[in-house]
Amino acid sequence: MAAIVLKDIEKYFGDNYVIRKLNLTIAHKEFVVLLGPSGCGKTTTLRAIAGLEEIDAGDILIESKKVQTLQAGDRDIAFVFQLFALYPHLTAYENIAFPLRATRESAAMVDARVGEVARSLRIEHLLKRRPSALSGGDMQRVAIGRALVRRPKAMLMDEPIGALDAKLREDMRTELKRLHLENESTTVYVTHDQVEAMALADRIAIMNEGVLQQVGTPDDVYQHPANLFVAQFVGSPVMNVTKASIAPEAGVTRVMIGDGDAAFEFAGELERRVAALATTDREIMLGVRPEGVLVTRQQSAGYIPVEAHIVEPLGAYDIVDLKVGGQFLRARTPSGYARAGERVWARLDEAQTHFFSARTGEALDRRLER
């Protein structure tokens, strides 16, 4: 079982504390994405698993064995980098076969393994070419082929499709995920692109400033962000976040946003559920994704009048910047639903509204139950 366990990992670069007591278990056959902005420690973590970076404290276990003392080559792990690290003078075939040459496999065995990998990557017709005659996507397919051919216990990938253009990235995401389903190798994948993380991962581990922020399935981190950092890092367009205060009234709770820019009505028990968690500080931040801001063209109960300030048509839907007092809230609407400058009515979907401590950024209530 090629599970990977990281226990209390710490790493310094000089005075720079880049990994801070990281604990993470990657299950056998699991596809885990380390997601975060540049400098968050995700690549250093990956390199530590690979043995390319020594750690200052903690344990790394692969198949329940501590590997800190093992050289990179002895960990039976394959690494795919962002930049296609291929040998320019060798054909695609020889590049893929290269790791097997060192193990002195028979020629027939090498041929069979290269053929098998090339088939699953759909690059059989390219095997005689040198890297200079390949497109970016095909070069990266060859690089992945070279990693797969050894049938490693685990695959580590560092932004493997980050250098490709947008359309090709879209296609490669599908291929990588299919490949994982076929090979079932435990995979740790590093990216700063939340779309990629959401699309590929069984579980996402989100890092910031060397600290693991949240680990969960894509649905978990999207729908139940543990803190403001995760809430705003995952999802596009970004979650609306604004100062808020809550006040109970007869049977309802009024949620004021901004500096009293607007008040939305929520169910009566909201005050108890959120305030109970916020006893230490009453400064609250409200977060709601654009799809949680509900818009209608008719005046309706519970909706407040707002101005559709800017309409961004994205084809399948529109993103509308609503002017709510001095605040802007972005809403997702059907294409052509609202026009710029028009008055519309809005409310917040309670089930999709999050509350955070303004002081710590921690979620006060992991999303209210429906």
């Binding site: 995401r173 959401m198 894509p218 800017i310 048509p313 084809g315 710029a340």
Partner: protein
């Protein structure tokens, strides 16, 4: 402020026509986006309008006047680049003042102060005015670069991928800021990008450019809903429009070895194509999954996008995408049935790639 017109403009570098008989009409006060892949001729077009390049053929007009023999300064346009070219050891205020102290445009101190204050307020960088530019974040630097264009009060703003170097979140925020700015200034913006989301979200009009030629000019809705050809169809929209080779025969679209979808009379009449091969285009959001579907496929791949899932379906060798709500229970290798929204099917000529679909603009715009 002024409109911009290009009439049959060609610019060659050696034997290669970077811009090829290009005609464009950009209205006064319009946010016009020139969209195309790398090497399409977008930047060359901007430089031609700015007067930094001379066309080999054709005419360029600004504010209705032929500017063929006008200097860069006389054209009075402002350019904002992808790489912010700020003076690093100077403050934001000094950087904003530079364009107002040039030989051609020289203003008094009171006027300079007024313009800097106005631009800073508009861009919300008032608190940064006395900071040195090397202490600014990427987003702040790009705001200052835009500020340097605003203070000049030019007749036209030319923007060359100004958001490309910023991270995703910042790009998103600056998209609506720029659109808001253009509306408040009532300025003519010509904005160049390879990013179709920027083009769709900001442009009043979008011109799609490829190999130096304009392929289509239209509102974002027109470009998305009625693409001129398979190039535009594949370039605009995420995920890209499904483009599938098929056969039109007897009121249905057959994809050999994969599936056949019936067309009703209205659906058939929309397609101005004879029976025979075609390329059929359908967007992911117009493919519906469900028991009442008219054909079968397998789930090849599922991508979680938070608000929704994008499912890749497989029928025979044919892969295509469908958008489903976030909570839909679909798993890889599930057998599913699907149907297409017939009003949204696009038929392209299999030879030329040209769209041969009748578009009811009232519904499609």
């Amino acid at each position: 402020m002024a409109g911009v017109g290009l009439d049959g403009v060609t610019k060659r570098f050696g034997r290669h026509a970077a811009v090829d008989a290009l005609s464009l009409d950009i209205a006064d006060g319009e946010f016009f986006v020139l969209l195309g892949p790398t090497g399409a001729g977008k930047t060359t077009t901007l430089r031609l309008i700015a007067g930094l390049e001379k066309p080999d053929e054709g005419e360029i007009a600004i504010g209705g006047k032929n500017v063929g023999d006008w200097s860069v300064a006389e054209r009075d346009v402002a350019m904002v680049f992808q790489y912010y070219s700020l003076y690093p050891r100077y403050t934001v205020r000094q950087n904003l003042a530079f364009p107002l102290k040039s030989k051609v445009h020289r203003y008094g101190p009171a006027e300079i102060d007024r313009r800097i204050a106005g631009a800073a307020r508009m861009l919300r960088i008032e608190h940064l005015l006395d900071r040195k530019t090397d202490k600014l974040s990427g987003g702040e630097m790009q705001r200052v670069s835009i500020g340097r264009a605003i203070v000049r009060e030019p007749r036209v703003f030319l923007m060359d991928e100004p958001l490309s170097n910023l991270d995703a979140k910042l790009r998103e925020a600056l998209r609506s800021e720029l659109k808001d700015l253009q509306m408040r200034l009532r300025a003519t913006f010509l904005f160049v990008t390879h990013d179709q989301i920027e083009a769709m979200s900001m442009g009043d009009k979008v011109g799609v450019l490829n190999h130096g030629r304009i392929i289509q000019v239209g509102t974002p809705g027109e470009i998305y809903g009625a693409p001129h050809d398979t190039f535009v169809a594949a370039f605009v929209g995420t995920p890209a429009m499904n483009l599938i080779k098929g056969e039109l025969s007897g009121g249905r679209i057959a994809v050999p070895g994969a599936f056949a979808l019936p067309l009703d009379d209205a659906g058939r009449r929309r397609l101005m194509l004879n029976d025979g091969p075609l390329i059929v285009g359908i967007r992911a959001e117009d493919v519906r999954l469900g028991g009442e579907g008219v054909a079968a496929a397998r789930v090849h791949h599922v991508e979680n996008h938070g608000v929704e899932k994008i499912v890749t379906l497989r029928a025979g060798d044919c892969l295509f995408k469908a958008t489903v709500p976030a909570m839909s229970p679909v798993a890889v290798e599930d057998s599913v049935r699907f149907a297409w929204n017939q009003d949204k099917v696009q038929g392209f000529d299999a030879e030329t790639g040209l769209n041969r679909t009748r578009h009811d603009m009232a519904a499609g715009g």
